[in-house]
């Protein structure tokens, strides 16, 4: 399968995602520059973490208007797989591909550390390789990961089983209902604050994030 990694000015996990997709997973992978207005042929797009446009104004707010985003939205609407990690998640929220918004961490600090995640839904294309209820150890690194959605929206998320990952034990940022990662209704767009690309190799002290890439690969191979 073919991965595309979108690069905005200020993206800084683009190379990390590229490394995992191409080297760890062994799949053909390409960078996609944000000024392009067309996508080539891809099976899965990764919107990487970082500080697109410096996170100035609001995380993801400016990147959301980059030329490539129209193509990304079309790709998602036609069923293509998209993973937004950290800043990528924030961009997906700003672009309206996922519901809700991000607020500043409740402790008002950037936090970088390993946290525990609970797999809430293992029937998505991104989580099928996990057990339901499995506890993962994956790092976070963000300043604005305090996920917010209004009551009606939260009800919807629960009703549709859209909450894929919850923080387990400690909620590091104040996210509503401990939400760490959600999926859209159609099940092809995943947004998550923790960094699976930082926990896909044993040298980095955890391979708990690799299941996400394995799940999507599995799904594509079965198609």
């Amino acid at each position: 399968m073919k991965f595309g990694v979108i690069v905005f000015p200020g993206s800084n996990c683009d190379q990390d995602c590229f490394h995992v997709a191409s080297k760890v997973m062994g799949q053909p992978t390409e960078y996609i520059w944000h000024k392009n207005s067309e996508l080539g042929k891809f099976d899965c797009l990764i919107i990487p973490g970082g500080f697109s446009y410096g996170d100035y104004l609001r995380c993801g707010a400016i990147a959301r208007f980059s030329p490539i985003m129209k193509a990304v939205i079309d790709f998602a609407n036609s069923g293509g797989f998209v993973i937004g990690i950290c800043n990528g998640f924030q961009i997906l929220l700003e672009a309206g591909l996922l519901p809700g918004a991000m607020l500043r961490n409740k402790g008002l600090h950037f936090i970088c550390k390993h946290v525990k995640l609970k797999v809430e839904n293992n029937s998505t294309a991104f989580s099928s390789k996990y057990q339901k209820g499995q506890i993962l150890r994956i790092p976070i690194a963000h300043n604005e990961g305090n996920y917010y959605i209004d009551e009606a929206g939260l009800k919807d998320l629960k009703k549709n089983d859209q909450i894929v990952f919850r923080y387990h034990g400690e909620n590091p940022n104040g996210a509503i209902d401990d939400i760490a990662g959600i999926i859209n209704k159609k099940g092809n767009v995943l947004g998550m604050m923790p960094h699976p690309e930082r926990s896909s190799e044993i040298e980095l002290n955890s391979i708990d994030g690799k299941g996400i890439f394995e799940s999507i690969l599995d799904r594509m191979n079965k198609k």
Partner: protein
């Protein structure tokens, strides 16, 4: 006529001014005067320190690269470039932006050398946290380092932090950055090739940071202007784009030389690039992209606007370079050309506003400053152990020490830094040194920074040696072979002989130790005038050191791994409590001599440590530093918050005072743990290297116990250790 007040306020002495007139054969223009004043300043010219800095060993066991803005060493097919720099004064007045721009500056030094920045460290010093302003400084500085470094995507993997009264009123913020590139890809900071264009790239120029020169503005030139702050706002987003654009540009092969615009901006970069290339340059200031209107030529030459660089490229390739910077929405403008005159010519609106030889600018007079042993040192030096009572409750002492901010867990700090981006950090902060893998290689890098300035205050020569020895020891405990050193020399006013005594002796100590370890000093920075009305800071020669792990698999962390493992102490414990954290925190005294150090024994210890780690015998290794043996053992129990263990220490076999035994800071000691079946192999290695060896206990799951001395449950250790810095 230039009035003496004007050049004096610029920091030039009467004789400097006369020298300028003599060089030029006429009265200088405003722009020339400003240019000389910054180039001859201590900051750029190193006139008071150069005599000593020249003595640093520039070669060592690894092949080095020195003499450019930053230095490094070669290993395999790569060059490892690194440097440390201070941003003390800006951080003292605006901690967040001061620290942020410090990080920005040091990282520019790395990628201008052609290397991709792969990691940063920071070495911080504040006054006691009981004072609200010091707390504000700590919060702001950490916030600033996080704000800048996290956005850039360069992991901040380590550092150190100390608290001491002497830093109240003058905190220290030393930032270190490391980059790597192919040997063949190292870029030089020089201009060359007559007719080649000089391009200005990056952000536009404003009146930022012309503080030192505001006298030019207030004295007769532009009456009534508001004084400019010398603190600038860091723009990590632009710097991130600048890193990518610069590395892309260097990869074209069209670049002759490149230099960042740091202190003194265009002045420094134009004249030093020309001087290094043995050529001249002519610059047209009208071409410089500007953010503010009505800037005078001297202001443009002086501006320290951030995130800018100067590049000398091959003629005819301008468009290609321009296209790259355009892609990243950054300026790239030809502002001048190279000639063979050896002269810097600056033009503004068609007229020459400055014209001087590069040599006269970049070769300031070197001073040989007087030094004198501080008169109070002899009295401070004396410590009669009999006057120091041994506390009854040593549990309490241990908890107090673990809660002393200098010793306590630094997690609150390093968890605000993205220390994992780039996915290379294999040993995370919290251990003795950070270990970074290099993708595609089976070897790895380790990095640390160290300096106990209290030792340097009591005994500058030995204190500096200990800083080098401890840095090396931290690397070795992580499985790395110490390779090379950078430094940041923070001292008081060099014109005061007692301050300069500290500088001279610390430098000599570093030289001695670096020669012993075979670690060259490849880069560094000097920061003088660190004084507050209360006096000078403790002499603080911060050492940054990089080591090589032959195999990534050699990486070793400092926490205990398994119940039942043997705990071994390598090295001897003397009856030394001079200058210790124990003496300060428990008895309120800063006195005595710094701990003894034998470089020979230290080398043997490190050789043995590395040999046993490489043989796969060592499960954990942690050196004894502040707080001594008891703190090192306690830390090994609790550093890994996901797998805390205890220790039963039942055979210390020592007859010395219990407080010295537990909390004294004797050097050249390491606490290791290993599988019980490997004890004898380690003992054999110790014999071979003549390293004092003793199995002192074993890893347990039931608290930290030293019969008759210490008996504490693990969670009490942890609470004391983790709640001091928040």
């Amino acid at each position: 006529m230039i009035k003496p007040e004007v050049y004096q306020a610029l920091g030039l002495k009467d004789e400097d001014y006369r020298r300028i007139e003599k060089i030029l054969g006429r009265e200088p223009s405003k722009t020339e005067l400003a240019m000389y004043s910054v180039e001859w300043s201590e900051h750029c010219g190193y006139s008071s320190s150069k005599k000593y800095l020249k003595l640093f060993p520039q070669t060592g066991r690894y092949q080095t690269m020195v003499g450019e803005d930053s230095g490094g060493f070669y290993y395999d097919d790569l060059a490892i470039i690194f440097k440390m720099e201070s941003h003390n004064h800006p951080s003292q007045v605006e901690p967040k932006q001061g620290a942020a721009t410090g990080v920005g500056g040091i990282i520019r030094d790395i990628f201008t050398a052609g290397a991709r920045p792969i990691a940063s460290l920071n070495s911080l010093r504040f006054g006691p946290l009981s004072e609200p302003y010091n707390r504000y400084l700590l919060g702001g500085v950490v916030d600033g380092i996080a704000f800048y470094g996290n956005c850039l995507g360069v992991p901040t993997v380590g550092g150190e932090i100390y608290f001491d009264e002497s830093y109240t009123g003058n905190c220290l913020v030393n930032a270190m950055s490391i980059g790597i590139c192919k040997r063949s890809e190292i870029a030089r900071a020089r201009a060359g090739g007559v007719g080649n264009p000089i391009m200005y790239v990056g952000s536009s120029t404003g009146r930022d940071g012309i503080g030192g020169c505001s006298v030019l503005a207030s004295n007769e030139f532009c009456e009534g202007e508001e004084k400019r702050p010398t603190v600038q706002i860091g723009d990590p987003f632009t710097e991130k784009c600048l890193i990518e654009a610069t590395l892309e540009t260097l990869a074209t092969g069209h670049v002759i030389g490149i230099k960042d615009m740091g202190a003194a901006g265009l002045t420094c970069s134009t004249s030093e690039m020309a001087a290094a290339g043995g050529v001249g340059v002519e610059i047209d200031l009208d071409k410089v992209p500007r953010r503010e209107e009505g800037m005078e030529p001297w202001e443009v030459m002086m501006s320290e606007s951030q995130e800018r660089m100067l590049v000398c490229v091959k003629a005819g390739k301008e468009d290609e370079i321009h296209r790259i910077f355009d892609k990243w929405d950054l300026h790239a403008v030809v502002i001048g050309h190279v000639n063979d005159s050896g002269i810097v010519t600056i033009k503004d609106k068609g007229t020459v506003v400055a014209r001087m030889t590069t040599k006269s600018l970049t070769e300031p007079e070197i001073f040989d400053l007087p030094y004198e042993r501080p008169s109070d040192l002899d009295a401070i030096y004396r410590l009669d152990l009999k006057t120091i009572p041994v506390p009854k409750d040593l549990n309490e002492v241990l908890l107090k020490l673990l809660g002393s901010p200098t010793i306590a867990s630094k997690a609150w700090i390093y968890e605000q830094y993205d220390h994992m981006v780039q996915t290379n950090t294999c040993v995370l902060p919290g251990s003795d040194a950070a270990v970074m893998r290099i993708k595609g290689k089976d070897w790895a890098l380790a990095a640390t920074s160290d300096c106990n300035s209290r030792y340097c205050y009591l005994n500058p020569n030995r204190g500096a040696q200990i800083a080098v020895a401890e840095a090396a020891r931290n690397l070795v405990c992580s499985g790395a072979d110490p390779a090379a050193v950078t430094d940041c020399l923070n001292f008081g006013n060099p014109n005061k002989p007692d301050r300069f005594y500290y500088f001279k002796n610390c430098v000599e100590g570093i030289i001695e130790a670096c020669k012993a370890f075979g670690t060259a000093v490849v880069s560094g920075n000097v920061s003088f005038y660190n004084e507050s009305p209360k006096g000078a800071i403790n002499p603080t020669p911060t050492i940054g050191m990089i080591g090589i792990l032959k195999k990534l698999d050699d990486r070793t962390t400092s926490y205990f791994k398994n119940e039942g493992d043997a705990i071994i102490l390598l090295g001897d414990t003397g009856e030394e409590i001079g200058g210790s954290e124990y003496l300060k925190v428990i008895h309120g005294q800063v006195r005595g001599d710094a701990p003894a150090l034998s470089l020979e024994r230290e080398k043997d210890l490190q050789g043995m440590m590395l040999e046993t780690i490489r043989a796969g015998l060592v499960k954990s290794a942690h050196d004894c530093s502040e707080g001594g043996l008891a703190v090192a053992l306690a830390e090994s129990c609790i550093i890994n918050k996901d797998g805390k263990l205890g220790a039963v220490i039942d055979d210390l076999g020592s007859k010395i005072r219990p407080d010295a035994l537990l909390f004294g800071e004797s050097q050249s000691r390491i606490v290791i743990s290993c599988d019980p079946k490997d004890v004898s192999k380690i003992e054999t290695a110790a014999k071979k290297w003549k390293v004092p060896f003793r199995t002192i206990g074993k890893v347990s799951s039931s608290g930290f116990k030293i019969p008759g001395l210490i008996d504490l449950p693990i969670d009490r250790l942890e609470t004391a250790w983790t709640s001091a810095i928040k």
